[in-house]
């Protein structure tokens, strides 16, 4: 019979926590794609008109 005191493995605890997954799933693409890209675009100097 399994010991009720035994914690599930770390990966299972991560997979069983939809709120943690929600935070990670929002933060990682926002940082990697959106914030980084926004910074790059904001650093482009405005084009001068001919």
């Amino acid at each position: 019979m399994p010991n009720p005191e035994t914690k599930p493995p770390l990966l299972q605890r991560v997979l069983d926590n939809p709120w943690l997954l929600l935070v990670l799933g929002v933060v990682i693409p926002l940082l990697s794609y959106t914030v980084w890209g926004w910074i790059e675009i904001s650093l482009v100097p405005p084009a001068t008109l001919p």
Partner: protein, 573 residues
């Protein structure tokens, strides 16, 4: 890694609340009546918008087929806009909301959190979609799905898309609230079932997708109203693709969940390893949204480091996830078939699969088209160097017709062959036609995708009304556009047949109240076979391993052929 997760099997759960649910006469599961109603509403709306998008599709195909060239130029761009929003947004989003409501209630033995919120979601989405379609047909939004600035549509176009996005986000909130209440009330034990976990991944991706939609559409709506200055076009492109591409990643998660579900319903397949399958979904959650950068590979305002990091989905970890699912779904089916006694040779089990079941054939075709065509072309075209010879050609369109149409739409059609009998409780009419429908649609879209891809390889651009004005394209390009056109005729015939079957069944299908749904045919076990008999046999899925080797060989050939094509147009001396 061995399986460590415990999956609940709700064999005979207690009803969630008296009169709030019914017991399914086929599966024995409790069906929340509130969720059932909104699954029905969203599924019906989805099929209506699919029909609108399908009518637009055949008009477009018969125009891009240069020998036919059906539409006048203004109507080409109008219908192209109509096709994009109905197929990539409305059909998919409404159906996904139906999938979310199903997966957070029935497999968890739970009640939908709020009917009022579900009404608010549905009303927003429906009003928004009708606004968008109305303004497009009035000719005041010929800006295509992407609506790149400085093109400007009527404000109702942007407001409609905002409403669809907020409505979907409202449904996603209802999904998460239902999960929370189900866990709090312990309506299930252990980890949530895999299909619900996949839907959770889809919902998480939907949150970040819809956030991008709000960020980009609200200032653009304000600009169209004349209230604020024009947003920067490059900024618009980047944020818009956070909506446009990521919404397709919601599809991927939902589609993969459907594959697992149909595998279980039709062959009794169970995931070969729960932990591996869930970890693959985790990789989707973390990395698949970065792929939006594919659309900006030739944009000058973002640097190579940003492009390469993001278009490699953070070093291809999300691609790894797709390949894991592409292995585990057929492997689980093969294992189930061998355990049923169909163990002859490498592929003897294949002949005993339930091919006459349209849900099974649709899901299998979806998996093959998505993996072999959509997946291989996607990773190749998303490589920064190769993208330079493919960007804005029909190759891109060929790729996403394999992923979104051959993959997602076909998987959703396949699921419908169970949704209508189980949720609407009517058996399908014209069952022989239903058995043929996935094949018509799948083979048709395969020709569409290949015709587009080869025409694009010859340089034919996407989103262009007329390619003959330049005289640059010869007989080969026109032949490939003809292949696309013939494929579209077949695929749209399959789509219309699907709509006729759905509508006809809802109107005239025999009710199955009080009895099990009419059986489409499932895999049969031979006498003496035993479930679980091959659980420890690591070579039991040798047929799938062989198929995987074929897939990887195709991948390598296509990938390196494209590097050769790049070297041919861009010689390094």
């Amino acid at each position: 890694m061995s399986s460590t997760l415990t999956v609940p099997i709700p064999a005979s759960p207690e009803p969630a609340a008296p009169a709030a649910s019914r017991k399914c006469d086929t599966t024995g599961l409790n069906v929340c009546l509130g969720a059932e109603r909104f699954i029905q509403f969203n599924a019906v709306a989805a099929v209506v918008f699919l029909l609108v998008g399908g009518i637009a599709a055949i008009l477009l195909a018969l125009t891009r087929w240069q020998a036919v060239h059906l539409l006048p130029v203004d109507w080409f761009y109008r219908v192209l806009t109509l096709h994009g929003v109905n197929m990539l947004l409305f059909w998919i989003l409404f159906f996904e909301v139906a999938v979310l409501y199903f997966t957070c209630t029935v497999p968890l033995n739970a009640r939908l959190f709020s009917r009022k919120i579900a009404w608010a979601s549905f009303a927003q989405m429906l009003i928004g979609a009708l606004m968008v379609n109305g303004i497009i047909l009035k000719g005041q939004a010929d800006v295509l799905l992407t609506s790149y600035l400085p093109l400007v549509a009527h404000p109702a176009f942007y407001l409609g898309i905002i409403l669809v996005a907020t409505g979907t986000l409202t449904a996603v909130y209802n999904f998460f609230a239902t999960l929370y209440v189900a866990r709090r009330d312990r309506t299930f034990e252990g980890s949530m079932p895999l299909v619900t976990f996949g839907a959770t991944a889809a919902a998480i991706i939907a949150v970040v997708t819809l956030l991008h939609g709000a960020i980009v559409m609200i200032p653009t709506f304000s600009y169209a109203m004349g209230w604020t200055a024009q947003p920067d076009p490059m900024w618009y492109r980047m944020i818009w693709w956070g909506l446009g591409h990521q919404s397709q990643q919601v599809n991927v998660c939902a589609m993969v969940s459907v594959w697992y579900l149909i595998g279980q319903l039709t062959t009794g397949a169970k995931p070969v390893n729960e932990t591996v399958c869930r970890t693959a979904f985790l990789l989707y959650i973390l990395f698949i949204n970065l792929a939006s950068a594919h659309h900006l590979l030739v944009d000058p305002a973002v640097g190579s480091a940003w492009k390469i990091w993001n278009t490699s989905y953070a070093m291809y970890l999300a691609v790894l996830a797709s390949m894991i699912h592409g292995f585990t779904v057929p492997a689980s089916v093969e294992l189930a078939m061998r355990e049923k006694g169909h163990a002859k040779g490498l592929f003897g089990w294949v002949t005993h699969l339930p091919w006459k079941n349209p849900a099974f054939s649709g899901a299998l075709l979806s998996l093959l088209i998505f993996g072999f065509i959509g997946g291989i072309t996607g990773v190749t075209l998303g490589t920064q160097q190769i993208n330079i010879i493919a960007h804005n050609t029909l190759r891109i369109t060929g790729h996403f017709h394999a992923t979104v149409v051959g993959g997602t739409s076909l998987a959703f059609m396949a699921l419908t062959y169970y949704v209508i009998p189980l949720i609407f409780r009517r058996d399908f009419i014209w069952r022989s036609a239903a058995r043929a429908q996935p094949w018509m649609f799948g083979i048709g879209i395969l020709f569409v995708s290949l015709g587009m891809s080869f025409a694009g390889s010859l340089g034919v651009p996407r989103r262009i009304y007329d390619i003959d004005h330049s005289g640059a394209f010869g007989a080969a390009a026109h032949l490939m556009l003809g292949v696309m056109g013939i494929g579209a005729l077949l695929a749209v015939t399959g789509l219309f047949l699907f709509v006729i079957l759905c509508v006809g069944t809802l109107l005239f299908g025999e009710r199955n109240h009080g009895r099990a749904m009419a059986d489409w045919g499932v895999a049969q076990a031979l006498p003496g076979s035993r479930e679980g008999s091959l659980a420890e046999d690591h070579w039991a899925v040798k047929g799938t391993i062989a198929l995987t080797a074929v897939f990887l060989a195709c991948f390598a050939v296509y990938y390196f052929a494209n590097w050769k094509a790049l070297a041919d147009v861009w010689p390094v001396r």
